[in-house]
């Protein structure tokens, strides 16, 4: 387990945890059961092509955003701890987590760390002060949650015929169609007058 993978594991586990104690409807398995840490790490490292310039000259064809994501998460966690905005005790990192501060936060505190990174903390404050695109940090945090969640509930994160997330949502997967036609509320729209607010309504065409 690398530092990057292990820190992302703490992220995806907070978004979609294993919940062995939850009822049957919810499903016990979590993001780590489908190795979503690997999916998100890969997605971040393939998020966009590396621009011309120093990154590319170091041999990267794509932006190495996954290690950056891990670093930022730990930065946010450290800020949360130092600012005393942590609400729950630090914990031992999960088995698949890395050892940094983000991995030691309770799940909701991990989300609070993300909130500092994108809205309330030092990076957003720097963004206000400097004429540089520091808001990219907020973009990456939004991307982290969007990708984690979409992948957790689709075949993106689990390419089995019936992905775990679809099963937990009780979604049967793509179908050729459904016989659910109930007629028409309006048979045809009419080419009505315009230019003055209409006063009628409720008559079916």
């Amino acid at each position: 387990m690398s530092y990057t993978r292990g820190t992302i594991a703490a992220l995806v586990d907070a978004v979609v945890p294993a919940t062995p104690e939850a009822g049957d409807d919810v499903g016990a398995a979590g993001a780590l059961d489908i190795d979503l840490d690997e999916t998100v790490e890969t997605a971040f490292n393939e998020l966009q092509e590396a621009p011309e310039g120093p990154i590319r000259s170091l041999g990267y064809e794509t932006m190495p955003f996954a290690p950056l994501l891990a670093l930022l998460l730990d930065f946010g966690a450290l800020e949360l701890i130092l600012a005393r905005e942590r609400e729950e005790p630090l914990q031992s990192p999960g088995e698949r987590f890395a050892g940094g501060p983000f991995s030691r936060l309770a799940p909701e505190d991990r989300m609070r760390a993300i909130r500092l990174l994108e809205a309330d903390g030092l990076f957003p404050a720097l963004d206000e002060r400097y004429d540089a695109p520091i808001g990219i940090v907020a973009y990456l945090m939004q991307g982290a949650l969007f990708i984690t969640t979409m992948a957790a509930y689709s075949d993106w994160g689990d390419d089995a015929e019936e992905p775990q997330g679809w099963q937990q949502a009780n979604y049967p997967g793509p179908a050729d169609g459904y016989a659910v036609h109930m007629g028409y509320e309006v048979d045809e729209f009419e080419e009505n007058d315009y230019g003055t607010a209409s006063t009628d309504g409720g008559d079916e065409a």
Partner: protein, 593 residues
């Protein structure tokens, strides 16, 4: 026509982009005998010239409807949401056709998600077929438009007849929405021209379903033996249904299946995918400056070429059209790329118990994955629109619960608000919400956000890819836009509450850049005919040409209508005119001027 492998030798018009709007323009120009070469940055799906578009380059171009293949579309469009729609490695993404490569770069220094698709058909590959006209007051009462609503009506009528556009069928989730709207006191709208609030089925460019698909009937469930929409709800995943049908008979009338075949059928249109335009070529003209061609780069081979033509049309979308303009060093009076509107989306969902559903719709689940993805709506001119907007679970989870400007639900106090939770939901609560997926109705709010010069696209001079400096996107809502959005969110919550929802959630969404309009607006950058004010023979024919966000109605219909109109202006100004003008024999019902 040229064969595959080389470009049309001497096109009259070169068009950058073959997305949602440009095929309308190309079709119209082709009808006048004008030779059009379209350069599309992304892949061409369902085309025998490109049988494995994400693995191999294939041939160079396609110019015949005989190339279009329903069988290939069936193979390529699997309807699995990650396979099709992952913004990183899905088939419908903003990136090169080559699946081995990453998406193209953009700089977004803020919270937000861009959702655009490169490829023939553009973002209509995953749109929902929604074709409402603009709200009348957004054209006639807002100060942005240099033309009248009446000028657009003949083009709307034309598209409504050719796609065609029809009222969406009622399905159980639509009926649930309608009942909530009725109980909230809204009237049914039956007119195409909307200037007053009311609910209605969506005017959709989706073939209406076979009557055999009646819910209470006895359909045997094969779905390959019927015409029209199969109600499979796969619009976002490309919407290839009905499977097995001819290419042009697919139900969802995205530009790929509706307008592209018509354009090719004129015998005057050729489409070259995998061709990323990098520069608009100009020369000194009788006036200030004159466009004369385009330089582009083949995304597979890296080879660059220049194409010369009498006119150039930019239709690369609201982000890439201004990027190309700026990278070409064309004049900027301060509005190039600016004035971007994006409908400042919000999402509100309701979960229902089975007894309530049994009472209202006669079944014990909403079944969001059945029926047209967006088939019913509420119009609120002056504020925007609200629509049923349903997805498979991955997109549901991400748009409803993973992106918000108001933090996390566990830290938000919602007392006094008409929703039970607001903001992102994670952990066990997320799993509980998603376990209710089939009893959930999700609504989208499209805000009538207004054009502002601060919002839009510029160049990121520090980030350059093989096509030049990349686009930087900055957009934030004005407090008045936030106010309109909040009004729509509250109306959504009331509607869901009236329908009996037991738990209502508001995302308070972070920006999703999906509906994009007005970054190269007529009246600002373009004249009323769609031609650049500062460069002759250069036109724009995508949603960036719209003068505002058309009031919050879905923009595709207006974008295509304006593209048809721009084609006619182009033909009149630089060619032999239009033999069969669309407005000729069609009289709008009335106009106030």
């Amino acid at each position: 026509m040229t064969g595959s492998g080389i470009d049309m030798a001497d096109p009259d018009v070169v068009v950058v982009g073959a997305g949602g709007d440009a095929p309308a323009l190309a079709w119209r120009l082709g009808q006048q005998g004008i030779d059009v070469l379209m350069l599309e940055a992304g892949p061409f799906h369902g085309n025998e010239q490109f049988p494995n578009p994400h693995d191999d380059r294939g041939n160079a171009a396609s110019a015949a409807t005989g190339d279009l293949s329903g069988d290939l579309l069936d193979q390529q469009f699997t309807a699995r949401e990650g396979d099709m729609g992952s913004p990183v490695d899905g088939k419908l993404r903003w990136g090169p056709a080559d699946a081995e490569r990453a998406p193209w770069a953009r700089t977004v220094p803020q919270t937000g998600v861009i959702s655009q698709v490169a490829g023939v058909g553009g973002t209509t590959l995953h749109y929902y077929g929604n074709h409402p006209r603009a709200f009348v007051p957004a054209i006639d009462d807002q100060p942005h438009w240099p033309i009248d609503y009446a000028d657009l009506v003949p083009y709307y009528q034309h598209l409504e007849s050719v796609h065609p556009v029809k009222p969406a069928p009622t399905t159980p989730k639509a009926e649930l929405f309608f009942e909530g709207a009725r109980r909230s006191g809204y009237d049914l709208t039956t007119g195409l021209n909307v200037d007053d609030e009311g609910y209605r089925p969506f005017p959709n460019a989706i073939h209406q379903p076979d009557e055999a698909l009646a819910r209470d009937g006895d359909y045997d469930g094969d779905f390959r033996d019927i015409d029209g929409d199969t109600l499979a709800c796969h619009e976002h995943q490309g919407g290839p249904h009905p499977r097995g049908a001819e290419f042009e008979d697919r139900a969802k009338r995205g530009s790929l299946v509706s307008l592209v075949p018509k354009a090719l059928d004129t015998g005057h249109v050729e489409i070259r995918p995998n061709a990323f335009a990098t520069q608009v070529l100009t020369r000194a003209g009788p006036g200030p400056l004159e466009a004369c061609g385009v330089a582009y780069r083949d995304t597979w081979t890296g080879r660059t070429r220049r194409i010369f033509a009498d006119c150039v049309v930019l239709a690369a979308g609201c982000i890439e059209t201004p990027r190309l303009w700026l990278n070409s060093g064309l004049p900027d009076d301060g509005w190039v790329g600016r004035g971007l509107t994006t409908h400042h989306f919000d999402f509100v969902s309701g979960v229902f118990d089975s007894e309530t559903l049994e009472d209202i719709i006669g079944q014990r689940k909403v079944e969001p994955h059945q029926g047209q993805a967006a088939g019913s709506r509420l119009d609120v001119p002056g504020k925007g629109g609200i629509a049923v907007n349903t997805f498979a679970p991955g997109i549901t989870a991400s748009v409803m619960f993973s992106e918000s400007v108001n933090g996390f639900a566990f830290e938000n106090d919602t007392s006094g608000e008409p929703w039970d939770t607001e903001g992102r939901i994670t952990g066990t609560k997320l799993k509980e919400q998603m376990s209710d997926y089939r009893r959930m109705l999700t609504l989208i709010c499209h805000t009538d956000d207004r054009p502002r010069q601060d919002n839009g696209v510029s160049l990121d001079a520090n980030t350059e890819d093989e096509h030049g400096p990349v686009a930087r996107l900055d957009w934030s809502p004005h407090p008045e836009d936030d106010e309109r959005r909040l009004d729509l969110a509250r109306r959504s919550a009331k509607l869901l509450d009236e329908a009996g929802a037991t738990h209502i959630h508001r995302a308070a969404a972070a920006p999703i850049f999906l509906h994009l309009q007005s970054s190269m607006a007529i009246g600002k950058v373009l004249d009323a005919g769609g031609e650049a004010l500062s460069v002759d023979r250069l036109f724009v024919a995508d949603h960036s040409a719209l003068a505002n966000g058309v009031g919050g109605a879905n923009p595709t219909h207006t974008g295509q209508a304006l593209a048809l109109r721009t084609a006619e202006h182009l033909a009149e100004r630089y060619f032999d005119g239009v033999a069969d003008p669309i407005p000729a024999d069609q009289t709008p019902a009335s106009a106030d001027d």
